[in-house]
Symmetry: C2
Subunit: 230 residues, 2 copies
Protein backbone atom coordinates (compact mmCIF):
# COMPACT_ATOMS: atom_id res chain seq x y z
CA UNK A 1 0.00 0.00 0.00
CA UNK A 2 2.52 2.56 1.15
CA UNK A 3 5.76 1.08 -0.03
CA UNK A 4 8.14 -1.15 1.88
CA UNK A 5 9.36 1.45 4.39
CA UNK A 6 5.95 2.88 5.30
CA UNK A 7 5.68 3.40 9.06
CA UNK A 8 2.55 5.03 10.33
CA UNK A 9 3.29 7.97 12.63
CA UNK A 10 2.79 7.48 16.38
CA UNK A 11 -0.45 8.80 17.82
CA UNK A 12 -0.55 12.09 19.70
CA UNK A 13 -0.45 10.23 23.01
CA UNK A 14 2.48 8.05 22.10
CA UNK A 15 4.39 11.10 20.91
CA UNK A 16 3.67 12.97 24.12
CA UNK A 17 5.00 10.07 26.17
CA UNK A 18 8.15 9.79 24.07
CA UNK A 19 8.85 13.50 24.51
CA UNK A 20 8.16 13.29 28.24
CA UNK A 21 10.54 10.35 28.69
CA UNK A 22 13.17 12.24 26.74
CA UNK A 23 12.75 15.43 28.73
CA UNK A 24 12.45 13.83 32.13
CA UNK A 25 14.78 10.89 31.78
CA UNK A 26 17.96 12.71 30.82
CA UNK A 27 20.47 10.02 30.04
CA UNK A 28 18.93 7.43 32.40
CA UNK A 29 15.43 6.06 32.80
CA UNK A 30 12.25 8.07 33.36
CA UNK A 31 10.09 7.07 36.33
CA UNK A 32 6.36 6.52 36.19
CA UNK A 33 5.66 9.41 38.53
CA UNK A 34 7.85 11.92 36.72
CA UNK A 35 6.14 11.22 33.43
CA UNK A 36 2.70 11.18 35.06
CA UNK A 37 3.34 14.61 36.60
CA UNK A 38 4.65 16.06 33.37
CA UNK A 39 1.71 14.84 31.30
CA UNK A 40 -0.92 15.30 34.03
CA UNK A 41 -2.15 11.75 33.83
CA UNK A 42 -2.54 9.04 36.47
CA UNK A 43 0.56 6.95 37.07
CA UNK A 44 -1.37 3.79 36.20
CA UNK A 45 -1.82 5.23 32.72
CA UNK A 46 1.93 5.67 32.46
CA UNK A 47 2.67 2.09 33.48
CA UNK A 48 0.24 0.99 30.80
CA UNK A 49 1.86 3.14 28.13
CA UNK A 50 5.41 2.12 29.11
CA UNK A 51 4.45 -1.48 28.39
CA UNK A 52 2.96 -0.51 25.06
CA UNK A 53 5.98 1.57 24.05
CA UNK A 54 8.13 -1.44 24.81
CA UNK A 55 5.99 -3.61 22.50
CA UNK A 56 6.23 -0.98 19.80
CA UNK A 57 10.02 -0.97 20.09
CA UNK A 58 10.12 2.67 21.11
CA UNK A 59 11.23 2.24 24.73
CA UNK A 60 12.96 -0.21 27.03
CA UNK A 61 10.97 -0.81 30.19
CA UNK A 62 11.68 -2.74 33.37
CA UNK A 63 9.00 -3.06 36.01
CA UNK A 64 9.64 -0.72 38.98
CA UNK A 65 12.73 0.58 37.14
CA UNK A 66 11.29 3.13 34.73
CA UNK A 67 11.58 3.47 30.95
CA UNK A 68 14.22 4.78 28.59
CA UNK A 69 14.00 5.39 24.86
CA UNK A 70 15.35 3.07 22.20
CA UNK A 71 17.11 4.58 19.22
CA UNK A 72 13.84 4.67 17.29
CA UNK A 73 12.04 6.23 20.25
CA UNK A 74 14.67 8.90 20.58
CA UNK A 75 14.47 9.72 16.88
CA UNK A 76 10.74 10.09 17.11
CA UNK A 77 10.99 12.28 20.21
CA UNK A 78 13.57 14.53 18.58
CA UNK A 79 11.47 14.83 15.48
CA UNK A 80 8.66 16.16 17.64
CA UNK A 81 11.00 18.49 19.49
CA UNK A 82 12.25 19.84 16.17
CA UNK A 83 8.70 20.49 15.03
CA UNK A 84 7.76 22.09 18.31
CA UNK A 85 10.66 24.51 18.33
CA UNK A 86 10.28 25.49 14.69
CA UNK A 87 6.58 26.10 15.21
CA UNK A 88 7.25 28.26 18.26
CA UNK A 89 9.69 30.31 16.23
CA UNK A 90 7.15 30.78 13.46
CA UNK A 91 4.34 31.74 15.83
CA UNK A 92 6.52 34.29 17.56
CA UNK A 93 8.26 35.82 14.59
CA UNK A 94 5.49 35.82 12.00
CA UNK A 95 2.10 35.56 13.66
CA UNK A 96 2.64 38.00 16.51
CA UNK A 97 2.37 35.53 19.37
CA UNK A 98 4.00 36.58 22.61
CA UNK A 99 6.88 34.72 24.14
CA UNK A 100 4.60 33.00 26.64
CA UNK A 101 1.72 32.11 24.30
CA UNK A 102 3.59 30.00 21.80
CA UNK A 103 4.01 26.83 23.79
CA UNK A 104 0.41 25.66 23.99
CA UNK A 105 -0.30 26.20 20.31
CA UNK A 106 2.90 24.47 19.23
CA UNK A 107 2.08 21.56 21.53
CA UNK A 108 -1.05 20.81 19.50
CA UNK A 109 0.39 21.58 16.09
CA UNK A 110 3.50 19.43 16.42
CA UNK A 111 1.33 16.31 16.20
CA UNK A 112 -0.50 17.47 13.08
CA UNK A 113 2.28 18.64 10.77
CA UNK A 114 4.09 16.36 8.33
CA UNK A 115 7.83 16.08 7.78
CA UNK A 116 7.31 17.89 4.49
CA UNK A 117 5.65 20.80 6.26
CA UNK A 118 8.38 20.89 8.86
CA UNK A 119 11.19 21.18 6.35
CA UNK A 120 9.40 23.80 4.30
CA UNK A 121 8.75 25.76 7.46
CA UNK A 122 12.41 25.46 8.43
CA UNK A 123 13.37 26.88 5.04
CA UNK A 124 10.79 29.67 5.40
CA UNK A 125 12.33 30.59 8.76
CA UNK A 126 15.88 30.51 7.40
CA UNK A 127 16.87 27.26 9.14
CA UNK A 128 17.15 28.66 12.68
CA UNK A 129 19.21 26.66 15.18
CA UNK A 130 17.41 27.76 18.29
CA UNK A 131 13.88 28.61 19.34
CA UNK A 132 12.58 31.74 21.11
CA UNK A 133 13.38 30.25 24.54
CA UNK A 134 16.95 29.68 23.47
CA UNK A 135 16.56 25.93 23.17
CA UNK A 136 18.54 24.25 20.40
CA UNK A 137 16.48 22.97 17.46
CA UNK A 138 17.39 19.39 16.52
CA UNK A 139 18.52 19.06 12.91
CA UNK A 140 16.40 17.27 10.31
CA UNK A 141 18.70 14.23 10.60
CA UNK A 142 18.07 13.93 14.35
CA UNK A 143 21.31 15.51 15.47
CA UNK A 144 21.03 17.73 18.54
CA UNK A 145 23.76 20.31 19.16
CA UNK A 146 25.42 19.89 22.55
CA UNK A 147 24.53 22.69 24.95
CA UNK A 148 27.39 24.57 26.52
CA UNK A 149 25.27 26.68 28.84
CA UNK A 150 25.12 26.25 32.61
CA UNK A 151 22.75 27.24 35.43
CA UNK A 152 22.74 30.88 36.57
CA UNK A 153 23.56 30.03 40.20
CA UNK A 154 26.88 28.50 39.21
CA UNK A 155 28.20 31.82 37.94
CA UNK A 156 30.87 33.46 40.15
CA UNK A 157 29.85 36.86 41.49
CA UNK A 158 31.11 39.67 39.26
CA UNK A 159 31.00 37.61 36.08
CA UNK A 160 29.16 38.85 33.07
CA UNK A 161 27.06 36.29 31.17
CA UNK A 162 24.60 36.07 28.32
CA UNK A 163 21.25 34.43 28.99
CA UNK A 164 21.10 31.56 26.54
CA UNK A 165 18.01 29.70 27.59
CA UNK A 166 14.93 29.78 29.79
CA UNK A 167 13.85 26.23 30.51
CA UNK A 168 10.16 26.58 31.14
CA UNK A 169 6.85 26.82 29.39
CA UNK A 170 4.78 28.03 32.34
CA UNK A 171 2.92 31.20 31.32
CA UNK A 172 3.44 32.99 34.65
CA UNK A 173 7.18 32.34 34.65
CA UNK A 174 7.58 33.39 31.04
CA UNK A 175 5.62 36.61 31.35
CA UNK A 176 7.50 37.52 34.55
CA UNK A 177 10.84 37.11 32.80
CA UNK A 178 9.58 38.54 29.52
CA UNK A 179 8.40 41.76 31.17
CA UNK A 180 11.83 42.22 32.67
CA UNK A 181 13.51 41.34 29.39
CA UNK A 182 15.40 38.51 31.01
CA UNK A 183 15.29 36.62 27.72
CA UNK A 184 17.79 34.67 25.63
CA UNK A 185 20.42 36.95 24.14
CA UNK A 186 20.35 39.39 27.06
CA UNK A 187 23.57 40.22 28.94
CA UNK A 188 23.60 40.34 32.73
CA UNK A 189 26.26 40.73 35.40
CA UNK A 190 25.92 38.60 38.53
CA UNK A 191 26.09 40.92 41.57
CA UNK A 192 25.27 38.53 44.41
CA UNK A 193 24.56 34.86 45.05
CA UNK A 194 23.15 34.42 48.53
CA UNK A 195 23.90 30.93 49.82
CA UNK A 196 21.18 31.02 52.50
CA UNK A 197 18.15 31.07 50.18
CA UNK A 198 19.73 30.84 46.77
CA UNK A 199 18.63 34.30 45.69
CA UNK A 200 20.70 35.61 42.80
CA UNK A 201 20.87 39.31 42.03
CA UNK A 202 21.83 40.39 38.53
CA UNK A 203 22.26 43.71 36.79
CA UNK A 204 20.98 43.97 33.23
CA UNK A 205 22.31 45.97 30.29
CA UNK A 206 20.35 49.03 31.39
CA UNK A 207 21.76 48.92 34.90
CA UNK A 208 18.53 47.61 36.41
CA UNK A 209 18.90 45.13 39.27
CA UNK A 210 16.82 41.95 39.48
CA UNK A 211 16.64 39.62 42.48
CA UNK A 212 15.59 36.14 41.52
CA UNK A 213 14.54 33.40 43.96
CA UNK A 214 15.35 29.73 43.89
CA UNK A 215 12.78 28.15 41.63
CA UNK A 216 13.30 30.87 39.04
CA UNK A 217 17.08 30.75 39.10
CA UNK A 218 17.05 27.05 38.24
CA UNK A 219 15.31 27.78 34.95
CA UNK A 220 17.80 30.28 33.62
CA UNK A 221 20.83 29.02 31.73
CA UNK A 222 23.71 31.21 30.63
CA UNK A 223 26.94 31.28 28.67
CA UNK A 224 30.04 33.21 29.67
CA UNK A 225 30.97 36.33 27.70
CA UNK A 226 34.24 38.22 27.29
CA UNK A 227 33.14 41.83 27.74
CA UNK A 228 31.70 43.59 30.79
CA UNK A 229 28.12 44.84 31.04
CA UNK A 230 28.93 48.52 31.24
Amino acid sequence: MNGPTATKPPSTSVGDYLKAIWEVGGSGAASTTDVADRLSVASASVTNMFARLQEMGLAKYERYRGASLTERGREEALRLVRRHRLLETFLLEHLGYSWQEVHEEAERLEHAVSDGFTERLAAFLGHPDQDPHGAPIPAADGTLAAEESFPLDEVPVGDCVRISRVKHEDAAVLSFLGERELVPGRLVEVKEVRALDGVVTVEDEDGVLHSLGRPLVDLIFVRGVAADVN
Copy 2:
Protein backbone atom coordinates in the same frame (compact mmCIF):
# COMPACT_ATOMS: atom_id res chain seq x y z
CA MET B 1 -12.80 25.84 35.45
CA ASN B 2 -13.04 27.51 32.10
CA GLY B 3 -15.68 30.12 32.71
CA PRO B 4 -19.40 29.85 32.08
CA THR B 5 -19.23 29.72 28.27
CA ALA B 6 -16.44 27.18 27.99
CA THR B 7 -17.26 24.58 25.33
CA LYS B 8 -14.67 22.03 24.57
CA PRO B 9 -13.91 21.76 20.86
CA PRO B 10 -15.30 18.75 18.98
CA SER B 11 -12.89 15.90 18.36
CA THR B 12 -11.22 15.42 15.00
CA SER B 13 -13.78 12.75 14.10
CA VAL B 14 -16.79 14.81 15.06
CA GLY B 15 -15.43 17.72 13.06
CA ASP B 16 -14.86 15.55 10.01
CA TYR B 17 -18.44 14.30 10.15
CA LEU B 18 -19.83 17.82 10.50
CA LYS B 19 -17.87 18.98 7.48
CA ALA B 20 -18.93 15.92 5.50
CA ILE B 21 -22.62 16.48 6.29
CA TRP B 22 -22.25 20.12 5.30
CA GLU B 23 -20.50 19.30 2.03
CA VAL B 24 -22.65 16.37 1.05
CA GLY B 25 -26.01 17.43 2.39
CA GLY B 26 -26.39 20.74 0.59
CA SER B 27 -29.55 22.31 1.97
CA GLY B 28 -31.22 18.98 2.78
CA ALA B 29 -30.14 15.93 4.75
CA ALA B 30 -26.97 13.88 4.23
CA SER B 31 -27.40 10.14 3.80
CA THR B 32 -25.42 7.50 5.65
CA THR B 33 -23.84 6.19 2.46
CA ASP B 34 -22.80 9.59 1.10
CA VAL B 35 -21.01 10.46 4.33
CA ALA B 36 -19.50 6.98 4.59
CA ASP B 37 -18.08 7.27 1.07
CA ARG B 38 -16.71 10.73 1.68
CA LEU B 39 -14.96 9.79 4.90
CA SER B 40 -14.00 6.27 3.81
CA VAL B 41 -15.62 4.61 6.81
CA ALA B 42 -18.22 1.84 7.08
CA SER B 43 -21.79 3.02 6.96
CA ALA B 44 -22.47 1.47 10.34
CA SER B 45 -19.93 3.89 11.79
CA VAL B 46 -21.85 6.76 10.25
CA THR B 47 -25.16 5.65 11.73
CA ASN B 48 -23.44 5.50 15.08
CA MET B 49 -21.99 8.98 14.74
CA PHE B 50 -25.27 10.48 13.48
CA ALA B 51 -26.92 9.38 16.70
CA ARG B 52 -24.09 10.88 18.74
CA LEU B 53 -24.16 14.17 16.86
CA GLN B 54 -27.87 14.36 17.61
CA GLU B 55 -27.19 13.88 21.34
CA MET B 56 -24.55 16.58 21.20
CA GLY B 57 -26.99 18.97 19.60
CA LEU B 58 -24.89 19.30 16.45
CA ALA B 59 -27.21 17.52 14.02
CA LYS B 60 -30.82 16.49 13.57
CA TYR B 61 -31.13 12.83 12.70
CA GLU B 62 -34.08 10.65 11.70
CA ARG B 63 -33.60 6.94 11.22
CA TYR B 64 -33.46 5.99 7.54
CA ARG B 65 -33.83 9.68 6.65
CA GLY B 66 -30.30 11.02 7.00
CA ALA B 67 -28.86 13.85 9.09
CA SER B 68 -28.74 17.61 8.74
CA LEU B 69 -26.81 20.14 10.78
CA THR B 70 -28.27 22.26 13.55
CA GLU B 71 -27.26 25.88 13.78
CA ARG B 72 -24.46 24.95 16.18
CA GLY B 73 -23.35 22.14 13.90
CA ARG B 74 -23.24 24.44 10.90
CA GLU B 75 -21.21 27.02 12.81
CA GLU B 76 -18.70 24.38 13.79
CA ALA B 77 -18.48 23.04 10.23
CA LEU B 78 -17.94 26.52 8.82
CA ARG B 79 -15.28 27.24 11.38
CA LEU B 80 -13.39 24.19 10.13
CA VAL B 81 -13.92 25.18 6.51
CA ARG B 82 -12.55 28.64 7.28
CA ARG B 83 -9.47 27.13 8.88
CA HIS B 84 -8.98 24.70 6.05
CA ARG B 85 -9.13 27.32 3.32
CA LEU B 86 -6.89 29.78 5.14
CA LEU B 87 -4.36 27.03 5.76
CA GLU B 88 -4.40 26.03 2.10
CA THR B 89 -3.76 29.62 1.13
CA PHE B 90 -0.82 29.85 3.53
CA LEU B 91 0.71 26.58 2.39
CA LEU B 92 0.48 27.59 -1.23
CA GLU B 93 1.55 31.21 -0.99
CA HIS B 94 4.22 31.03 1.70
CA LEU B 95 5.54 27.49 2.04
CA GLY B 96 5.83 26.62 -1.63
CA TYR B 97 3.25 23.83 -1.71
CA SER B 98 1.80 23.06 -5.08
CA TRP B 99 -1.84 23.55 -5.88
CA GLN B 100 -2.55 19.85 -5.50
CA GLU B 101 -0.51 19.17 -2.34
CA VAL B 102 -2.19 21.57 0.01
CA HIS B 103 -5.39 19.68 0.70
CA GLU B 104 -4.03 16.77 2.68
CA GLU B 105 -1.87 18.88 4.95
CA ALA B 106 -4.67 21.36 5.65
CA GLU B 107 -7.00 18.47 6.43
CA ARG B 108 -4.82 17.49 9.37
CA LEU B 109 -3.93 20.97 10.52
CA GLU B 110 -7.47 22.31 10.61
CA HIS B 111 -8.19 20.16 13.66
CA ALA B 112 -5.13 21.31 15.55
CA VAL B 113 -5.20 25.08 15.22
CA SER B 114 -7.00 27.37 17.66
CA ASP B 115 -9.32 30.25 16.82
CA GLY B 116 -6.54 32.59 17.90
CA PHE B 117 -4.15 31.01 15.42
CA THR B 118 -6.74 31.17 12.68
CA GLU B 119 -7.37 34.88 13.07
CA ARG B 120 -3.68 35.71 13.28
CA LEU B 121 -3.08 33.65 10.17
CA ALA B 122 -5.93 35.46 8.39
CA ALA B 123 -4.31 38.78 9.27
CA PHE B 124 -0.90 37.50 8.12
CA LEU B 125 -2.46 36.56 4.77
CA GLY B 126 -4.24 39.89 4.41
CA HIS B 127 -7.73 38.53 5.11
CA PRO B 128 -8.24 36.72 1.79
CA ASP B 129 -11.82 35.93 0.79
CA GLN B 130 -11.08 32.89 -1.29
CA ASP B 131 -8.68 29.99 -1.24
CA PRO B 132 -6.36 28.73 -4.01
CA HIS B 133 -9.14 26.60 -5.50
CA GLY B 134 -11.37 29.64 -5.72
CA ALA B 135 -13.61 28.54 -2.87
CA PRO B 136 -14.99 31.33 -0.70
CA ILE B 137 -13.51 31.53 2.81
CA PRO B 138 -16.20 31.82 5.48
CA ALA B 139 -15.81 34.97 7.61
CA ALA B 140 -14.78 34.77 11.25
CA ASP B 141 -18.42 35.33 12.28
CA GLY B 142 -19.59 32.29 10.30
CA THR B 143 -20.93 34.21 7.32
CA LEU B 144 -20.35 32.55 3.97
CA ALA B 145 -20.51 34.71 0.85
CA ALA B 146 -23.09 33.46 -1.65
CA GLU B 147 -21.47 32.03 -4.76
CA GLU B 148 -22.56 33.51 -8.04
CA SER B 149 -20.62 31.10 -10.20
CA PHE B 150 -22.20 28.36 -12.33
CA PRO B 151 -21.06 25.14 -13.98
CA LEU B 152 -18.98 25.38 -17.13
CA ASP B 153 -21.40 23.33 -19.22
CA GLU B 154 -24.17 25.88 -18.74
CA VAL B 155 -22.23 28.55 -20.59
CA PRO B 156 -23.58 29.41 -24.06
CA VAL B 157 -21.10 28.78 -26.86
CA GLY B 158 -19.15 31.91 -27.72
CA ASP B 159 -19.33 33.38 -24.21
CA CYS B 160 -16.20 34.43 -22.40
CA VAL B 161 -15.99 33.49 -18.73
CA ARG B 162 -13.55 33.58 -15.86
CA ILE B 163 -12.83 30.34 -14.02
CA SER B 164 -13.80 31.05 -10.44
CA ARG B 165 -13.55 27.69 -8.81
CA VAL B 166 -12.37 24.10 -9.19
CA LYS B 167 -14.43 21.89 -6.90
CA HIS B 168 -12.09 19.02 -6.21
CA GLU B 169 -9.22 17.93 -4.07
CA ASP B 170 -8.16 14.90 -6.05
CA ALA B 171 -4.45 15.15 -6.88
CA ALA B 172 -4.77 13.80 -10.44
CA VAL B 173 -7.54 16.22 -11.33
CA LEU B 174 -5.74 19.18 -9.79
CA SER B 175 -2.44 18.51 -11.45
CA PHE B 176 -4.13 17.96 -14.83
CA LEU B 177 -5.86 21.31 -14.59
CA GLY B 178 -2.89 23.00 -12.95
CA GLU B 179 -0.54 22.00 -15.77
CA ARG B 180 -2.92 23.54 -18.28
CA GLU B 181 -3.36 26.62 -16.13
CA LEU B 182 -7.09 26.07 -15.99
CA VAL B 183 -7.14 27.64 -12.53
CA PRO B 184 -9.26 30.24 -10.74
CA GLY B 185 -8.78 33.69 -12.24
CA ARG B 186 -8.12 32.39 -15.73
CA LEU B 187 -10.25 33.62 -18.64
CA VAL B 188 -11.58 31.19 -21.25
CA GLU B 189 -13.96 31.37 -24.17
CA VAL B 190 -16.36 28.48 -24.69
CA LYS B 191 -15.99 27.24 -28.28
CA GLU B 192 -18.18 24.14 -28.28
CA VAL B 193 -20.48 22.18 -25.96
CA ARG B 194 -21.18 18.78 -27.46
CA ALA B 195 -24.55 17.47 -26.26
CA LEU B 196 -23.76 13.85 -27.10
CA ASP B 197 -20.98 13.26 -24.57
CA GLY B 198 -20.85 16.55 -22.71
CA VAL B 199 -17.39 17.47 -23.91
CA VAL B 200 -16.73 21.18 -23.64
CA THR B 201 -14.00 22.86 -25.68
CA VAL B 202 -12.57 26.14 -24.44
CA GLU B 203 -9.91 28.51 -25.67
CA ASP B 204 -7.64 30.06 -23.05
CA GLU B 205 -6.00 33.49 -22.91
CA ASP B 206 -3.07 32.24 -24.97
CA GLY B 207 -5.31 30.88 -27.72
CA VAL B 208 -4.77 27.26 -26.70
CA LEU B 209 -7.76 24.94 -27.06
CA HIS B 210 -8.72 22.45 -24.33
CA SER B 211 -11.32 19.71 -24.69
CA LEU B 212 -12.72 18.61 -21.36
CA GLY B 213 -14.83 15.51 -20.75
CA ARG B 214 -17.82 15.08 -18.52
CA PRO B 215 -16.44 14.33 -15.07
CA LEU B 216 -13.97 17.18 -15.37
CA VAL B 217 -16.44 19.72 -16.70
CA ASP B 218 -18.67 19.26 -13.64
CA LEU B 219 -15.88 20.41 -11.35
CA ILE B 220 -15.22 23.72 -13.06
CA PHE B 221 -17.30 26.73 -12.06
CA VAL B 222 -17.18 30.07 -13.82
CA ARG B 223 -18.44 33.65 -13.75
CA GLY B 224 -19.41 35.70 -16.76
CA VAL B 225 -17.12 38.55 -17.83
CA ALA B 226 -17.73 41.66 -19.92
CA ALA B 227 -14.70 41.64 -22.19
CA ASP B 228 -13.66 39.10 -24.83
CA VAL B 229 -10.65 36.80 -24.56
CA ASN B 230 -8.71 38.32 -27.39
